[in-house]
């Protein structure tokens, strides 16, 4: 009787061990062709890194969740009441408890390792971006300013302005808010960042494939939050420059922004958060 039970626990341990092994194996063999798992594969280089992390997390979650759920369902179906005898009143099994403390710690450390890895890539800002864009969010619209190029895509409330980017090149976005907190988010980029009063956020976007992507404010910002949309259009560098020249010729740069200029108190601490 006791023997039987002990071997059962041994068996359990083996199941847990196998789960851990699968995850480690899976992460080591970081192949590039993972399914999308319902998400976007990432239209930017940064978004693609995020997607890879996401996909591996899905696999890990399926393994861990699958094992846990099977144990649970097994217990429910196998041990439904069959007689009136009182079952053995066992309460502690230290080795088993240690096992299911240590294995999750290992999993967590693995996840953390890859998280930091990807986080540093996503947050990295290159020293020589191809183009610099200052994005100002306001209630309820967006302003895209290309200071070096003297181009200003002036957003008007509840319009759907378009930010143009050169495909394959690194664009440096400087994100600020003129009033309340907003969220700069493009779903195919797998990325969002708050635009906040008093904070300047800086990040890079390197679009991999030309196309038009729908963006939207994700942080609730008042009445028309739901209609605070924008588009990102990524075109080849040649097309990008012809767009720039056309804009300059049309004199869009002369539209002086009437936005209150944001006051800056806190600088993004991106560089600090790296380890």
């Amino acid at each position: 009787m006791g023997r039987n039970k002990l071997s059962r626990f041994k068996h359990l341990k083996r199941v847990f061990g196998a789960g851990g092994l699968i995850i480690i194996l899976a992460t080591v063999l970081s192949a590039c062709n993972l399914p999308a798992f319902g998400g976007y594969k990432g239209a930017t280089a940064q978004g693609h890194d995020t997607h890879m992390l996401y996909a591996w997390l899905v696999i890990a979650a399926i393994v861990v969740g699958g094992i846990t759920l099977s144990l649970l369902l097994w217990a429910i179906f196998r041990y439904r009441k069959k007689s009136d005898t009182i079952p053995k009143q066992f309460q502690y099994h230290i080795p088993l408890e240690i096992t299911y403390t240590v294995i999750p710690i290992i999993i967590v450390l693995i996840v953390f390792f890859f998280t930091v890895n990807v986080e540093n890539k996503v947050d990295a800002v290159s020293t020589h971006p191809y183009v610099k864009i200052k994005v100002t969010a306001f209630q309820w619209g967006w302003n895209f300013d290309y200071p070096q190029l003297h181009v200003d895509v002036h957003g008007v409330t509840l319009q759907n302005p378009e930010m143009v980017l050169p495909t394959g090149k690194t664009a440096r976005i400087t994100l600020v808010s003129a009033d309340v907190v907003h969220g700069f988010y493009v779903r195919q980029f797998n990325f969002s960042r708050y635009a906040q009063p008093g904070v300047v956020n800086v990040f890079d976007l390197t679009v991999r494939h030309s196309g038009t992507y729908q963006g939207q404010c994700t942080q609730f910002c008042g009445l028309y939050h739901a209609e605070m949309l924008f588009r990102v259009k990524s075109v080849s560098p040649t097309q990008f420059w012809s767009w720039v020249h056309q804009e300059q010729a049309e004199g869009h740069s002369k539209v002086v922004s009437q936005l209150p200029s944001p006051v800056v108190k806190v600088r993004s601490t991106n560089s600090r958060t790296k380890i």
């Binding site: 997607h51 998280t115 930091v116 969220g183």
Partner: protein, 597 residues
């Protein structure tokens, strides 16, 4: 003079002083003046359930709006008010007060063999503050500006007087100040009760896990709620006295609000969750006919969750760009470890048991599955790059509803479990099972489409969405799920009515329960106990009823020495095998006083 000293001075003989006020009021007056933890606990639960129905109705209206693309059922303003009030009602006024004001209030004194909470009048005040706060929150709808419409998190500077003027937001702040004090008082009361009013022999490591969880919840309340309350006072001062604490123009720092809010907000998640972890830890062993597996591991895990949860607030601010990503990420991921310990302990408790599937047990199983989904998706959000992708999309909405609905399943389970104790009659088990299936299926049918919507980029808190984003079908599915969920609560109300109409009387221990509340009558008398069995383990009533089925350690096959004494031993030496000794404090049912000088 502190209670502590009093206890030291008390002689063993009963020193009774009949008090002058001995008239028993009845009816409404009795309810209005009651300081009995059982009455207050029931009032809390009843009020919280009504608020849940109000908040749930708001949710169903929102779902109706989102079922068609670019719907014009609600205006933007109305939608914004609805999600703000839905979230606020559910978080501030339903789950928390139901758990620590209602369940804990009712169950904790019974489980530790106490006659009442340590500060009965303060306890009553907590309830009145909560009721008053709730009414003020709802009054917001009747102001000229409408109810608060800045989300339940009230981010600065959207919540400033300029961006959200009017009395509605002020009512929201006032309501939360009142309920905040209510929570703090309840926290104080619970800690004191658990530290000072346990029955003899009920050492800390013999307390039922539910009591442990409530102790830790109360400590978390005391750490977190003062921060929220002071933040609200600062916000109020900003709005009315131009303090400019959160506004850039006046030299303030808006992000400070997020720091303060989430320093309360994340512990709050566990303030909501731990009580229901406790509920599940009570129910599963009883219906598996086994002791909880890994009692000490459970206690350790609860403490670890609480301690870690105080250091993870930044994970709600990953996309601000101004928090220390690795620090908050690591601590958040680590919470999965103690949570995992709990989960496996629950499974191991069922392992080789004799499981009966009553409604409370089914609800707990529903909790386990739903919570597993919520917990695993939480791991995604704890990883900053993935959070950049998911933040403020429906993925997050789905994640927290998974977790919260798991808690709601446990809450309904708790009602079915303790209902016979509270009222002396059962809720119908068959209707309960129907309710379980509706609730379980409804919840997951709501939440799964939300996860996919989040992955497809649908932002949260939007009243409308564009045609052509590919979100329509999933929204319809979510609404169907939400309606099934709503239906399950109608079934619940029906069950309460039918069971009340044809009462099936319940004995004092209907489930072969193991903890002290099952030793007294159903419902218990005013000061709870006329007799208490010897307490030699965390299952005194089980030990009393099943003297030959004492808990053992699975690997040693020997009875564990709990605090140096094998469980069950005490009764043997006591000599009164079947007769519980009389508890001196509670047998008379009259008010007893201590002369103090």
């Amino acid at each position: 003079m502190t209670l502590l000293e009093e206890k030291q001075l008390i002689p063993t003989e009963e020193t009774k002083h009949a008090t002058t006020e001995h008239h028993e009021p009845s009816g409404l007056i009795k309810w209005l003046t009651s300081t009995d933890h059982k009455v207050i606990g029931k009032s809390y639960m009843f009020t919280a359930l009504i608020l849940m129905i109000i908040g749930g109705a708001m949710a169903l209206i929102m779902r109706l709006q989102l079922t068609s693309q670019h719907s014009s059922l609600l205006s933007f303003q109305q939608y914004n008010e609805l999600f703000t009030m839905h979230g606020s009602i559910m978080i501030y006024l339903f789950v928390g007060p139901f758990a620590f004001g209602g369940l804990a209030n009712y169950v904790v004194p019974l489980q530790i063999g106490a006659p009442d909470m340590a500060f009965p009048r303060l306890n009553a005040l907590s309830y009145w503050l909560y009721l008053g706060g709730s009414i003020i929150m709802l009054l917001g709808f009747f102001t000229a500006s409408g109810a608060a419409d800045f989300g339940w998190v009230a981010y600065a500077p959207l919540s400033s007087a300029v961006n959200s003027p009017g009395a509605g937001p002020d009512a929201w702040i006032a309501a939360l100040v009142l309920t905040g004090f209510s929570a703090i008082f309840t926290g104080v009361n619970l800690v004191t009760t658990i530290f000072y009013l346990r029955a003899p022999g009920m050492t800390m490591f013999r307390m039922p896990i539910f009591v442990w969880n409530m102790l830790v919840t109360a400590i978390l309340i005391l750490m977190a709620f003062p921060v929220l309350t002071s933040a609200l006072i600062m916000l109020y001062a900003d709005r009315h006295f131009g303090m400019d604490i959160f506004s850039v123009k006046g030299g303030g720092v808006p992000v400070l609000w997020q720091n303060l809010f989430w320093f309360w907000g994340h512990p709050e998640v566990y303030i909501l969750a731990l009580p229901f972890f406790g509920v599940v830890t009570e129910i599963i062993p009883v219906f598996s006919k086994k002791p909880i597996f890994g009692y000490k591991g459970m206690v350790f895990a609860t403490l670890a969750i609480a301690a870690l949860s105080t250091g993870v607030w930044g994970h709600h601010m990953f996309t601000t760009g101004v928090v220390l990503l690795p620090f908050f990420s690591l601590l958040s991921l680590l919470i999965a470890v103690p949570t995992g310990i709990k989960f496996f302990n629950w499974i191991a408790t069922m392992w080789r048991g004799q499981i009966t599937f009553t409604t409370p047990m089914l609800m707990c199983i529903g909790f386990l599955i739903t919570f597993l989904i919520g917990g695993l998706t939480g791991m995604f959000l704890a990883s900053p790059p993935v959070d950049f992708q998911m933040h403020d999309t429906y993925f997050v909405v789905a994640h927290f509803h998974s977790v919260i609905f798991a808690l709601v399943l446990a809450a309904v389970g708790a009602l079915y479990y303790w209902w016979p104790k509270m009222f002396g009659w059962y809720l119908n088990d068959k209707i309960g099972k129907v309710q379980f299936w509706l609730l379980f299926i409804g919840v997951n049918a709501t939440v799964v489409p939300w996860y996919i919507l989040g992955l497809h980029g649908m932002p949260r808190r939007v009243a409308v969405y564009k045609v052509g984003m590919g979100w329509h079908a999933l929204n319809i599915a979510a609404t169907v799920g939400a309606d099934i969920t709503g239906l399950s609560f109608l079934v619940f109300l029906l069950n309460i009515y039918l069971s009340w109409d044809k009462k099936v009387p319940a004995p004092s221990n209907p489930w072969d329960g193991t903890t002290l509340e099952w030793f007294t009558s159903s419902p218990p008398p005013t000061h709870n106990f006329t007799r208490i069995p010897p307490i030699r383990s965390e299952r005194p009533v089980w030990d009393f009823n099943h003297p030959d089925a004492i808990a053992i350690s699975a690997h040693s096959q020997k009875a564990p020495l709990i605090n140096g004494a094998p469980p069950g031993n005490g009764r043997a030496t006591n000599g009164n095998a079947r007769e519980a000794t009389i508890s001196g404090s509670a047998n008379s049912g009259t008010t007893e006083t201590v002369e103090s000088d």
